[in-house]
Amino acid sequence: MTGTLAIVGFGLSTIGPGTATGLIFAAYINGVARQPEARSILQPIAFLGFALAEALALFGLVLAFVLK
């Protein structure tokens, strides 16, 4: 069997950002559920955090292609 470990490494590296994204949206949902009028304030913060966490997974994807 042949292949590259980079893909496996990328799979493993998505665990962190995946967990992080889940936590961010859990906190966002919690906040909105407790205080629905805070939604417009929380939304950009939640998406910003999501983007920052998700970027790490995407760096992994790029590296998986670069280091083939």
Binding site: T2, I7, A55, L58, L61, V62, K68
Partner: protein, 260 residues
């Protein structure tokens, strides 16, 4: 990876980064490839859309005017006023063009017959990032002066002295390297991954369609997934344009702030 696949089923070639290279449309110049033409197309589309929507401005807006104005209002209020603060009006044109340019180029990724997000070539996000990189440094230097700006970055006030040993390099790196790097990489990688995902399902479906009878039916699922993911991609594409503009606005807001 390719070797593994070709052993299992010799006909299927999984999509790779090679699928993102295009032949020049005419001549040998790399200036005339599909992505470059798409950039010009995006400028024409966005320009004519907003010219048309603003041409016959009326108190009771037409549908077109309403569409144009609601996008503008969204950028001005959500990204300008709420993020940058009292001086936001100066930056609204910049943020607005940034958002529209990235959005149009991203959405090309799911428009039938075009189906290629321009920003999945790293050169284009870098080009856009240079604008926001120059913008937030320029704003800060103009507001505080070069000396105070560098001092603010290197030596944040109100922190015990030994901490500067770690903080100064980290802050310098953040402002000069990490910010533009993450800004361009995020946009590029999102579009790259999205396009690759669609390619996997479309090419997979195409391959299934050319194989045995039972597999032909399975190709329906593959194409169905591709269509579903196209709508998912629409969300990602709009979100990435929003995130890019939001981060630029945040950096400009940081540059305008009196203390870091």
């Amino acid at each position: 990876m390719r070797a593994l696949w070709s052993q299992a089923n010799p006909g299927f070639v999984p999509p790779s980064s090679a699928d993102f290279n295009f032949e020049p449309i005419f001549g040998n110049s790399i200036l005339f490839t599909k992505p470059v033409l798409l950039v010009f197309l995006s400028v024409i589309i966005a320009g004519s859309f907003f010219t048309l929507s603003a041409r016959k401005a009326a108190i009771v807006p037409s549908k077109l005017q309403f569409a144009g104005e609601s996008i503008y209002t969204f950028i001005r209020n959500e990204l300008g006023r709420d993020v940058i603060g009292p001086e936001f009006m100066r930056f609204v044109p910049f943020l607005f063009s940034l958002f529209i340019f990235i959005l149009t180029n991203n959405i090309f990724g799911i428009v039938p017959l075009i189906q290629f997000p321009t920003m999945s070539h790293i050169g284009f996000p870098i080009g856009v990032t240079i604008f926001s990189y120059v913008a937030y440094h320029y704003v800060a230097i103009k507001k505080h002066g070069l000396g105070k700006y560098v001092k603010d970055i290197c030596f944040m006030p109100g922190i015990p002295k030994p901490v500067y040993l770690i903080l100064t390099p980290v802050e310098l790196l953040t402002y000069l390297v990490t910010r533009p790097l993450t800004l361009s990489m995020r946009l590029f990688a999102n579009m790259f991954a999205g396009h690759l995902l669609l390619l996997v399902f479309v090419l997979g479906g195409e391959y299934l369609l050319t194989s045995g009878l039972i597999l032909k039916f399975l190709s329906l699922f593959s194409f169905g997934f591709a269509i579903g993911l196209s709508f998912f991609e629409l969300g990602i594409q709009a979100l990435q344009a929003y995130i890019f503009t939001l981060l630029t606005a945040l950096y400009i807001a940081g540059a305008l702030a009196d203390e870091h």
